[in-house]
């Protein structure tokens, strides 16, 4: 009896696993809402391009209206997704067979580079610039793909708390390495990437600094890390 039942039980368990993989791979409402970074320059530009495309096939809308429609659809989809995922979420979490395959879905056209500078009281000198061998503080660590991931997120979905903590953490590292400095400045340099014809013409992307944070080296060295 047991020998005859086992193939059916096993097939049922495999069906459950396959169902979990499919359901948990569906886009999550949170990824479409908060995780999307609706206010970011990248998504705003993306909406504008979609509106242009839709107008080309006779659909009249605006970036604001399109964004609102997608958000409303994601809200309505929330209950459906929750209902579908409920039977599988414990198994997915517990087994480690997590799903969610959003990779390079929206290439970033408005990157925000992390820049770190140190002042001796009179002039600022660069300590870190991405892809710069001359200003390579923490180079190997910043080049690591997990740090790249974290830094890349600041351009998409800016989380001020995480940014503030990371900026302070990095400023403390700079202060330890350069105790003779006076002020550490951590900021983001945001620009729009260039079109191929602009790059071929020799143009250089020009941007603006944002989210500047300044820390006194003396105070960082006095304070204990939290």
């Amino acid at each position: 009896m047991r020998e005859r039942a086992w193939p059916h039980v096993r097939a049922l368990l495999i069906l459950f696993h396959v169902g979990m993989v499919v359901v948990m791979s569906l886009p999550t409402p949170d990824a479409l809402l908060g995780g999307m970074g609706w206010e970011s320059a990248n998504v705003q530009a993306e909406l504008a391009r979609w509106v242009e495309g839709l107008q080309g096939v006779g659909v009249s809308t605006t970036p604001e209206a399109l964004g609102q429609d997608v958000r409303e659809a994601a809200e309505s989809y929330r209950d459906v997704h929750a209902g579908l995922a409920a039977p599988f979420s414990a198994y997915s979490r517990g087994s480690g067979a997590r799903q969610g395959w959003v990779m390079f879905a929206k290439p970033q056209r408005h990157p925000a580079e992390l820049h770190i500078d140190l002042s001796d009281g009179t002039t600022w000198r660069p300590i870190y610039r991405p892809h710069s061998s001359a200003h390579d503080f923490w180079g190997e660590r910043f080049r690591h793909h997990r740090m790249r991931k974290q830094l890349g997120r600041f351009a998409r979905t800016f989380d001020v708390d995480t940014y503030d903590r990371l900026a302070e953490f990095l400023a403390r590292e700079v202060a330890r390495a350069h105790p003779d400095g006076r002020v550490v400045r951590v900021q983001l340099y945001r620009y729009a990437t260039l079109r191929p014809d602009e790059v071929r013409a020799g143009a250089v992307p020009m941007g603006e600094y944002e989210q500047a944070r300044r820390y006194s080296v003396a105070r960082l060295l006095e304070e204990h890390a939290p």
């Binding site: 993306e46 087994s95 997590r98 395959w101 970033q108 056209r109 990157p111 991931k149 191929p196």
Partner: protein
């Protein structure tokens, strides 16, 4: 045959363990690489220790294992890191394999997902693979378990084939879903297939200055289109497997598929894609772990045959090399 009967029969199949053993070794090595890469960069405490204990981010208490061990403190993180690394070595060697895979999966899961801002699809591919290794008999050959059990490293013992099918299914779902998520106009004709060019222009992932891609922009457009179609078209491989499994049934589509091995173009394009990523972008072990899944696309007999062919070629090359060397020495001495 009813659909249910078909399903039950499909998962009743057995085969030797070579494909899953190769997959196990590859996944073990990728897991070791993923962990060592963080450790050698000095980022273990930075990434995975909570802000209140010296890290940069507020991480909370983590999953059940991290919580049970006391939260994201340096001590807990170091214990998990050591356990993950040690068990990944055991997975690679195939010692106490199912338990090792379970420990590796759970500790890796606890460690990397405590900081959701620093994880990637590769982490999911690794934990998925480790879970499937828990369910499989991958240590029946090419393992220390096999050596201890039989006195030999290799064995032709049969194991259930369904874990290999689930590996293939996971690979196809990964590609398909990542393709379907690519709704940015940059991946579509609407945006002029500019996605890969855009990725190369921003500093986050590129390994080096990629401005030169502006001079070969049409090539990047072609690569973007190929990538997208390859990803969303991945389920065709499952259709091919289905038709091959039911080859005795009639049908023109089945006959068309029977005449072609769709795995070949799939693997060729996939390898080109992943090697391109490896050269140009730093996305961690993504390409390595994805390519490890490819091993399961092939039946054990096919992998064994490929290995034997490689050995024969190597042997022939050595013989030819020796002949040339002897001829050269003879010429010199005379």
């Amino acid at each position: 045959m009813s659909a249910w009967r078909f399903w039950v029969t499909l998962f009743d199949r057995r085969e030797t363990a070579s494909s899953l053993a190769c997959f196990r070794i590859a996944i073990g090595l990728v897991t070791i690489y993923s962990l060592l890469d963080v450790g050698l960069a000095g980022l273990v405490d930075v990434l995975w220790v909570d802000y209140h204990s010296g890290g940069y981010a507020c991480l909370g208490t983590g999953n059940w294992l991290m919580t049970w061990l006391g939260g994201a403190t340096p001590e807990t993180v170091h214990v998990l890191y050591g356990a993950a690394l040690g068990s990944a070595v055991l997975v690679t060697l195939g010692l106490v394999t199912r338990v090792s895979a379970l420990v590796a999966g759970q500790t890796y899961l606890a460690l990397v997902f405590v900081n959701g801002s620093a994880t990637g699809g590769y982490d999911q591919l690794i934990t998925n693979a480790l879970w499937l290794l828990v369910l499989s008999g991958s240590s029946r050959t090419l393992s220390l378990d096999c050596l201890l059990r039989t006195g030999r490293l290799r064995s032709d013992e049969l194991i259930p084939a369904w874990p290999r099918y689930l590996v293939i299914f996971q690979l196809v779902v990964m590609y398909t879903c990542t393709g379907l998520h690519k709704l940015s106009s940059a991946w579509l004709p609407l945006g002029g297939y500019s996605a890969l060019y855009d990725v190369f222009q921003e500093p986050t992932w590129r390994r080096f200055d990629m401005r030169w891609t502006a001079h070969v922009y049409p090539l990047t457009q072609l690569a973007t289109a190929v990538t997208w179609f390859f990803e969303v078209g991945a389920p065709v491989v499952l259709v091919w497997f289905y038709y091959r499994y039911t080859a005795e049934r009639p049908g023109r589509a089945r006959a068309w598929f029977a005449r072609r091995d769709l795995r070949v173009p799939f693997v060729v394009v996939g390898l080109a894609l992943h090697l391109g990523i490896l050269v140009t972008l730093n996305v961690g072990p993504f390409s390595w772990v994805a390519m490890a899944y490819y091993l399961c696309l092939f039946r054990p007999a096919e992998l064994t045959g490929a290995w034997a062919w490689t050995l024969r070629r190597g042997q022939r090359w050595r013989e030819r090399h020796d002949e040339r060397r002897i001829a050269h020495l003879t010429r010199v001495s005379t």
